[in-house]
């Protein structure tokens, strides 16, 4: 497979996953606020600011807006094309990558990516948004589900599929750590958190919902929501499909499928790092993590995921590949400017 194609499949997949996660976070938090009767601006800011921080966009955000509230944060993360992490931008980038590999993906997938791209940029999207943000988010998430299903049911299990999976699981694990990190300020810096008040419980429920983990949690633990169990489920669960451990496990298998090296050994840095991280997650308890500090641990996980991604690129994509992109775009257009029908 062309390295450039692998690159595009990987990013297409990451951006699909990203749009889905952003939609879920915003949706859940907008709804959460309906449960609070009266919130002053300061409380609202305390609620929304971590969401902006979680994507690392704080600086850019506060250049564009004075304060973080429901309106500004959702606008920033839904429609703003100058925010590369917004839903509209993520979908546009997923589609741009899909377009570069149109010959590699199925027509069904392409049409769905293209459909949702055209939809979120249309006037109709603004109408849906105005009348019901929940419905808008539902539309995004439904499309993401469609795409996941189409990937699963139409893409052959060859190299391309593994790059799609690698992108998906790295993005998903990363997003889970960021969603968990939203509420770290409510926790002691180190040590296992004790029982929490009603507001905190609601916010931890929101964390679960943001990871579509609410039902899974209740199934295991019942209705009492506390930070320790939520964190355990989202980091260490071997079964829940959005937990960091689960995602790293899948990622590790994908890397091994790509290289053909069995589990327990490694041939390249990506496998070495993923194998090491997976073992660590397998042999950790949640209290260990709290003892050393949840926030630091989540940071560490994000760095590890980043390193795995970079190692993957070094092996399969960069080593045979050089960039020179901005010049290229210009010439692609230039060539046709002089000769539009040829």
């Amino acid at each position: 497979m062309l390295s450039r194609v692998a690159n595009s499949l990987y990013w297409m997949s990451r951006y699909i996953e990203r749009a889905d996660n952003v939609a879920r976070i915003l949706d859940v938090n907008l709804q959460l606020l309906l449960d609070y009767r009266r919130l002053d601006d300061e409380h609202l800011a305390r609620h929304w600011t971590p969401i902006v921080q979680s994507t690392g966009d704080e600086e850019d955000f506060f250049e564009k807006y004075e304060e973080a509230n429901g309106r500004t944060v959702t606008e920033y993360f839904v429609f703003r094309r100058d925010n590369p992490n917004s839903i509209v931008s993520s979908i546009a980038q997923a589609r741009e990558n899909a377009r570069m590999v149109r010959d590699q993906i199925t027509i069904e997938m392409w049409e769905e990516i293209n459909r949702i791209h055209l939809l979120v940029r249309s006037e109709r999207a603004k109408d849906i948004w105005a009348s019901s943000p929940a419905e808008f988010f539902h539309e995004i998430r439904a499309s993401s589900c469609d795409l996941q299903g189409l990937i699963d049911s139409t893409i052959p299990r060859n190299e391309g599929w593994y790059f799609i999976m690698a992108g998906k699981y790295i993005e998903r694990a990363d997003k889970t750590t960021r969603i968990l990190d939203l509420r770290h300020e409510n926790l002691p810096e180190k040590g296992v958190p004790v029982l929490v008040n009603q507001t905190d419980a609601l916010e931890w429920s929101a964390v679960l919902r943001s990871c579509s983990a609410w039902d899974a949690y209740r199934h295991i633990h019942g209705v009492d929501v506390g930070p320790r169990r939520v964190t355990e489920l989202l980091i260490l669960s071997p079964e829940f499909p959005r937990s960091v451990r689960f995602c790293v496990g899948e990622l590790d298998s994908v890397l091994r499928a790509l290289s053909g090296v069995p589990s327990g050994r490694f041939w390249n840095d990506a496998e070495k790092l993923s194998g090491r991280l997976l073992s660590e997650l397998r042999f950790s308890e949640i209290d260990d993590i709290f003892e050393s500090g949840l926030h630091q641990y989540l940071d560490y996980l994000q760095l590890q995921l980043n390193d795995i991604g970079e190692a993957l690129f070094d092996i399969y994509i960069y080593h045979p590949f050089h960039e020179g992109f901005s010049d290229q775009q210009q010439q692609q257009q230039q060539q046709a400017l002089s000769d539009p029908e040829k």
């Binding site: 450039r4 392409w110 055209l118 045979p320 590949f321 290229q328 010439q331 000769d339």
Partner: protein, 479 residues
């Protein structure tokens, strides 16, 4: 006939009706069947087709738009129909033309007999913008220069087919031929069946065979790739479409690397050899070490590999000389010279500004003539005398006097018209042309029909997609 009732030719040559507005024989069956379609049904099919095109991303990029806007190439649901005997005539004419073009290109890059015999004065060839003197005496695989050609045909007021231009570099539009057909089959399966239309879907297979035919000697199972300028090129949809249909890789310049005069593509498992490149990148951009130094669309060393015979290109380098509108002027003589035949498809009468007598005529008759720059296309660099303002005419007068070699003039040909759906107005006549696609390999194949482009603006003669053009499905009937 309900929807097409009251449709009249209005003193133009119309594809569907005669001057007295009687339906021509080869349209009769279509008109009978189409008469059963009411306006509402038609509208809903039309919307469905537009939506499907948009959804599938069958679009072209609009340049100079920072938002990267994409538009669909408007599609008109009334097909253009060509009877079998007429098509046979076109096929013979096109085959004659591409044969002569290939002989001509071989000659100007080798013995240059036609120049020595002064049938085409050497000055015109040597001054042609796309003449590649670096490739004189270079032997291209199987001596084929133009493998894929898209010749633009128009019909004058008497219905005579004329050649407007030959596109010997990398003509686009064939994906619309294939997609338009799919759309028509979905929209009007019944009509389709009863009229008897020749299929077009062998194009991709024929194209792949044409490309495999020129593989370097000794390569048993050649790897063919399509080289695209990239996703920002206006024809990118077509590039991915053709690559997918042929089951070959679509590559960009940055995917290619040349080592020891062999071309490879960079894959996740290292370098893999490439043998034939269907390039949709202009000569100038192919290799920064030979042509434009700033090009990032090609691959350094590609031309060297080509010269060594380790990789083949379609179309060959240097075919642009045949697209020069001054060379076009000589095509009837070129056909006569190499084939000793009269041209089956005539040219549009043409005047060369670099010939004194012609120039005098051109300058005296500017308001009646169409003036074209010798190396522009897509409706650019052109003066439509009868529709131009005084300033435009004077501007072209200056241009012609300053650089007569680069201008030709032709009488304004009105172009045949075809019933076309025009929103509120219903069906009206709009001007059309025809671009058949000719493949020249082990044998010549021409996909029945081609791309019918239609100037959607009332009275307009410009069919280019960038300037208000649309397209139609083209039906060639069985005998």
């Amino acid at each position: 006939m309900s929807l097409l009732n009251n449709y009249a030719s209005e003193d133009f040559f119309d594809e569907m009706v005669s001057r007295s507005s009687d339906v021509r024989g080869h349209y009769q069956r279509f008109v009978d069947r189409f008469g059963m379609v009411d306006r509402e049904e038609f509208e809903s099919k039309r919307r469905a087709v537009d939506l499907a095109f948009l959804r599938q991303g069958i679009t072209f990029n609009v340049y100079g738009d920072s938002q990267g806007t994409e538009r669909i190439f408007p599609f008109d649901l009334i097909p253009r129909i060509i009877p079998a005997n007429e098509w046979e005539h076109l096929e013979r004419g096109l085959e004659q033309r591409i044969t002569a073009l290939n002989l001509f290109l071989h000659d100007v890059y080798h013995e240059q007999r036609i120049m020595k015999d002064n049938v085409v004065p050497p000055f015109y060839i040597l001054s042609a913008k796309h003449f590649r003197r670096e490739f004189v005496n270079f032997r291209v695989p199987k001596d084929i220069y133009v493998h894929i050609c898209g010749t633009d045909l128009i019909r004058d007021n008497d219905g005579t087919y004329l050649v407007l231009e030959d596109n010997c570099r990398s003509p686009s539009g064939v994906s619309y031929v294939l997609e338009n057909r799919r759309a028509m089959k979905r929209s009007f399966p019944g009509i389709f069946e009863s009229v008897g239309v020749r299929p077009v879907d062998s194009y991709s297979t024929d194209l792949l065979k044409t490309l495999q035919y020129i593989a370097p000697a000794g390569v048993a199972d050649p790897t063919v790739v399509l080289l695209t300028p990239g996703a920002y090129n206006s024809a990118y949809f077509e590039h991915t479409y053709l690559a997918r249909q042929m089951g070959i890789e679509i590559v960009e310049g940055r995917d290619l690397v040349v080592k020891d005069a062999h071309v490879y593509m960079r894959t996740t498992h290292g370098l893999e050899p490439v043998h034939v490149i269907y390039r949709r990148v202009d000569d100038d951009f192919l290799d920064p070490t030979v042509f434009r130094k700033d090009s990032v669309l090609g691959a350094a060393g590609l031309i060297n590999a080509y010269r060594e015979g380790n990789v083949s290109l379609a179309n060959s380098i240097g075919t642009g000389v045949a697209d020069d509108k001054v060379v076009y002027y000589f095509l009837p003589r070129i056909i006569k010279y190499y084939l000793d035949q009269e041209p089956i498809l005539p040219n549009v009468p043409t005047y060369l500004a670099s010939e004194e007598e012609d120039k005098k005529y051109i300058l005296e008759h500017l308001p009646e003539l169409v003036v074209k720059a010798a190396n522009e296309s897509g409706g650019y660099g052109m003066l439509m005398g009868p529709r131009a303002s005084k300033e435009e005419i004077e501007k072209f007068r200056g241009l012609i006097e300053a650089d007569p070699r680069n201008y030709i003039a032709q009488p304004m040909i009105s172009l045949s018209r075809h019933p076309t759906f025009c929103e509120e107005a219903g069906f009206e006549g709009r001007h059309v042309d025809l671009r058949p696609f000719i493949l020249y390999g082990e044998r010549t194949t021409i996909v029945p029909g081609g791309l019918t482009r239609v100037a959607l603006n009332k009275g307009s003669l410009v069919v280019n997609s960038s300037q208000g053009g649309g397209s139609k499905d083209t039906w060639v009937l069985y005998d």
